[in-house]
Every structure is written in structure tokens, then in C-alpha cells.
């Protein structure tokens, strides 16, 4: 079941492809042609080398000290820019709100479509994938008037940068949908829900205490993808003039490029660690959930 997911779902959701699908297990003792080994080594060295080059350059650039020495001064200086700290805090706050909002909006809706209204499943899927077809910059153009209205009529709340979470929730929908959908498909959600309901659990309890623990792998993946997306978001915050992390990094680049390269590198490493952790652990979490459900059913 992982392969069809990968090819048909993964491609539609960049970021959801290889990150969410599991490789098909291969038998041992595959025959390898020597030519293939050489070709593979050349491709890996050249292409990965090219991908690593700018990252290496960022380290080299950001650790320059005086007179050709090496120093971590640029990294220490991060703390001396209050705007930068504000930007990091703002982006983290938006990330938390986005994750919460996305989960509250998506999880009950998706569970409900599986359990009660399967004919709406296609509609929900279509709406969730729609943001892939509408570039972020187009959303900004259209949402500008809405934010203007919010700023004028909703006071301090309406003008807060935290309102960016409202748009970020839309932007993460495709990725979050893929991740949670993969988990929901790996368990028998409908039977599980009916079992919980027949034992007297209400819907909130069924979703929170029965379904959610079984799809925690998908929820974790969706949350991490959302956090990474929010921390990297530039288009919308810059054009709506909110000082998020990326906007501050950009502005700082004009004043102190060394510090802004240092922050950029730190942020990339942070996002990498997050994604590496899910790619290592999340599929296992999904898998465990699957086993506990399939056993009694069999």
C-alpha cells in the first residue's frame, strides 16, 4: 500500500512524497553490475557535492573572524539583534498557532468524512490540495483586502502578525492532508469509531482518545511539516509587512550579512533535524498503530 500512495499522492504534494512514503523492502543479495556502482558513486558525489556546496559556504562565510581567523562571533551576535529575536519568537508563535489550528480544523473533518460521509471525502481532498494550484503570491493579492478589513475592524488582534497563522493553515493543508490521510488509511478508522461509540464514548472522546492515538504518526509528520513551512515562509509575511523570521533575515542581510547567513544556516539545520527525526521515527509510529488494530480484526 505504500507504493501507490507514494506515486499518486506523493507527487501531488511536494514534501509529502518521499518524506511520507516508505520504501518497498528489497531482497538481499541483489546482483550489482560494477558499471552501475561506479555510475552511482559518481552521481552521489557530484550532485550531493553541489547540494552541500552552498551550505558549506554558509558555514565558511558565517565563521569568518578578523584577519583570516575563524570565529563564532556571528552566531553570538544573533542575540544582540532584538529584531531578530522578535522575528524568531513571532515565527515560533505563528508555528504553534498554525499547528493547533490545522489539527483542530483537519483531524475531526477527516475522521468525519471517513466514518460518516465518505461521499464528501473527494471534496475535502480537493479543497486540501487546492493551495498547490494557487501560488502563495496570488493568495496575498486576494487576501490583502481581507487583512485590511481585519486590521481596521478587529483592533489589535486583527493587526497582529499572529494572524498570519490563518493563511499558513491554508498553505500547510496539502502536506498535512497527505500525512494524516496516510495514517487514517493504515488503520480501520470506521470500525474503530463504531467500536468506541458502541461502548458509549461521545464523538469528542472517540476522536481524541481512540482515533488520535492511532494516527499519531501522521499527526506528528503534519505538525513538523507545518512548523518547517511556517519558519521558512517569506512571501506572504513580507508582502503583508509582518516581521517574521525570514523577513528579518532578509532585512538584516543588508546590514550585517554575516549574522544573517549565520541565522539562515541555523534555521536550515533546525528544519533539517526536525524532518530527519520524523523520517526516522514517524513511519514506525504509524506502523505500530497499524499492528495494534489489525491483530484483533484478523
Amino acid at each position: 500500500m505504500t507504493a501507490p500512495q507514494g506515486t499518486s499522492l506523493g507527487a501531488a504534494a511536494p514534501g509529502g512524497g518521499a518524506l511520507l512514503s516508505q520504501p518497498r523492502p528489497r531482497g538481499r543479495g541483489r546482483r550489482r553490475r560494477p558499471g552501475q556502482l561506479v555510475a552511482r558513486a559518481i552521481v552521489l558525489v557530484v550532485v550531493l557535492g553541489y547540494l552541500v556546496l552552498p551550505l558549506f559556504a554558509m558555514v565558511e562565510f558565517s565563521t569568518r573572524g578578523d584577519y583570516g581567523t575563524r570565529s563564532l562571533g556571528s552566531y553570538e551576535a544573533i542575540l544582540s539583534y532584538p529584531n531578530l529575536i522578535d522575528g524568531i519568537v513571532t515565527s515560533l508563535e505563528i508555528a504553534v498557532l498554525t499547528v493547533l489550528g490545522m489539527l483542530i480544523l483537519l483531524v475531526p473533518t477527516m475522521v468525519w468524512t471517513v466514518v460518516r460521509v465518505p461521499r464528501m471525502r473527494r471534496v475535502v481532498e480537493f479543497l486540501c490540495l487546492l493551495p498547490l494550484a494557487i501560488p502563495a503570491i496570488v493568495i496575498v493579492v486576494g487576501i490583502g483586502p481581507i487583512y485590511q478589513w481585519m486590521g481596521q475592524h478587529l483592533g489589535a488582534v486583527g493587526a497582529s502578525p499572529l494572524t498570519l497563522a490563518l493563511i499558513d493553515i491554508i498553505l500547510v493543508l496539502p502536506y498535512a492532508y497527505r500525512a494524516i490521510d496516510a495514517s487514517l488509511r493504515s488503520i480501520d478508522t470506521a470500525t474503530l469509531a463504531d467500536a468506541a461509540r458502541s461502548l458509549g464514548a461521545g464523538w469528542p472522546r472517540t476522536i481524541l482518545q481512540v482515533i488520535v492515538p492511532n494516527i499519531r504518526g501522521g499527526i506528528l509528520s503534519a505538525s513538523v511539516l507545518a512548523i518547517a513551512l511556517v519558519l521558512g515562509e517569506y512571501t506572504i509575511s513580507s508582502l503583508l509587512a509582518f516581521n517574521t523570521l525570514q523577513v528579518v533575515i532578509y532585512l538584516l542581510g543588508k546590514r550585517d550579512p554575516f549574522v544573517s547567513v549565520a541565522v539562515s544556516f541555523a534555521a536550515l539545520v533546525f528544519a533539517f533535524v526536525l524532518l530527519f527525526v520524523i523520517s526516522r521515527f514517524a513511519p514506525g509510529a504509524v506502523h505500530r498503530g497499524q499492528q495494534t488494530i489489525e491483530e484483533p480484526a484478523a
Binding site: T2, A3, G6, T7, L9, G10, A11, A12, P14, G17, A18, L19, S21, P23, R24, P25, G27, R30, R33, Q36, V43, Y50, P54, A57, M58, F61, T109, W112, V114, R116, V117, R121, P131, A133, I134, P135, I137, V138, V141, G142, I143, I146, I167, I169, R185, D194, R197, G200, G202, L225, A228, L231, G232, T235, S238, I249, G253, S260, L268, F272
Partner: protein, 311 residues
Amino acid sequence: MTESPVSRRTPSIGKVAGPASRGAGDRTFGRVGNSLALIPFHAYVLVFLILPTLIVSVGAFTTSNGSVTLDNVRQLFTSDVFADAFVKSIQLSVATAILGAVIGGLLAWAVVRGDPNGLLRQLVVAASGVLAQFGGVMLAFGFLATFGFNALVPNLFTKTLHLNVLPDPSWLYSLAGLAVVYTYFQIPLMLIVFVPSLDGLRQEWYDASASLGGSAWSFWRHVGGPILAPSFLGALLLLFTNAFSAYATAAALISQGAPILTLQIAAQLQSEVVIGQENVGKALALAMIVVVAVVMILYAAIQRRASRWAR
């Protein structure tokens, strides 16, 4: 994809379980009530996605005081600036999509041929996720630190090797620089999209081809190639829309003018001064939607074909 385990199972649940197993909550909701529970989600998407799209679409055909006009759309075809930006956006997207698909496809192949649960694969996939999706501004800085003024590569050539062979680093701030950085983030995106398709190539197919005396070339020519062709084409389209809608990298690199479409839209947003042209930005945005929508429809059609072999 067409028939999921869950959707196949769900209708039978209703029959088997029957009314007896239904809790009080469901009786109060009823059949129509079941759909009502989806209202919050639909309302949210309506306000924050559909409404903005409508504002763009309607705005493209109206003046600032609300009367209907075709002037905004006409400007797209008569203005040299817009036509130029449109052409450059398409050229940039096509070129970087092809480069990214070929190089990223090779990398995906090299990664998939290794241990499926190995560290290399996990590292490369996670790193690709970061570089493909979340980098915009940060990658632009990465390239400034690599090829910019007083950066790693120029310093290596001039100060260490004493060779003055590199062009002036200002190329990085032009369309050529954009093409290099775009290709850079297309490669990992291709990897993420294409790895699952390569995983779908079964070992049995290699073995079958080899046992019939087929060489590596004949395997790719007659088996692997034709099976992967739709996925590759689909990925190519996806990479095209990715480059076509990218803004952050361009905004961080290009300091003079607005050579591509997304920068033109941003410029229109930030300086709506010319009377009578307030909604030209919306017409540009609508043009983007049209291009991306056409490509995505093509993509969906190809994807249906690609999924045929994926079971």
C-alpha cells in the same frame, strides 16, 4: 488511490452495524446533520482560500470603483514589461524544471539503489525536504556566500589559486543567478517526488529482464523507461509550477527591476499609485492561476496514468 481500503470498507459498515450501534449523537444529527459537521472546514477554506481567489478573479475585470473593464487584462497583452516578465518566467521555469528533473532524477536513482532503510537515504530525503520547500531567502544567502562578492568560490580562485577566470559575481543578481538557485532547489524537489516512483520499480522486473539476457540499457529502454515516463513527465510539470510560483528567492536576489512575473505582482502590490491601474496586479495574478491550473490539470491526467503500474 482510486479505491482506498477505507472507502471500500466504509459503506459496508453502515449496513453491518445498522441503527442499533449508532449513538444518540447520530440520531440528533441525521443524514443532513452528518454533512453539517463539515461546515467549519468548508467555511474556513471559503474565507481564506476561495474568497481571495474570487477577489483576484473579479478584481482582474473591474476598476477600483467597481465598474467592469477589460483594461487590466488588455494591459497584460499590450505592455512590453508584462509580456517580457511573462516570457522570462516561462523560460526560467522550463529551463530549471528540465535541469532539476534530469539531475534530481539521477540523484533519486542513485539513492534508491542503496539500502532502503539506510542512513544515506534518510539523510538525503530529510535534507531534500528542507532544501526544496523551506529555503527561499536562506538559499539565496547561501548562494551569495558561495558565488557572491568576497565569497567562497571567487576567493578560492582569486586569492588561493590566483586565477582571474571567474566572471564578475554580479551575474548572481541577474536572471542567470536565479536560474542557478532555482535549479538548486528543483533537484531536491525532484528527488522527493520521484523516489516513490523509483521504489515502485520491482526487483522482479530487473531479474526478469536480466534472465532473458537483457542488458541494463535494454531494461531502461523497454521496461523501466516506459513505466517511469508518466511519473517523470508529471514531476516535470510539478517542477515547472514550483519555479513559476516561486517568489522568495527572486525577491532576495534581484535588487534591480522585476524581470519575472511574481516580482511584477509584488511590485504592483507595493506601489499601487497609477490611477486606473490599481487592479493590474490582480490581472497578473489571474494569469498565474490560469497557467498553473492548466499545468495542474495536465498533471492530474498524467498522474492517473502513472498510478497504473504502482500496485
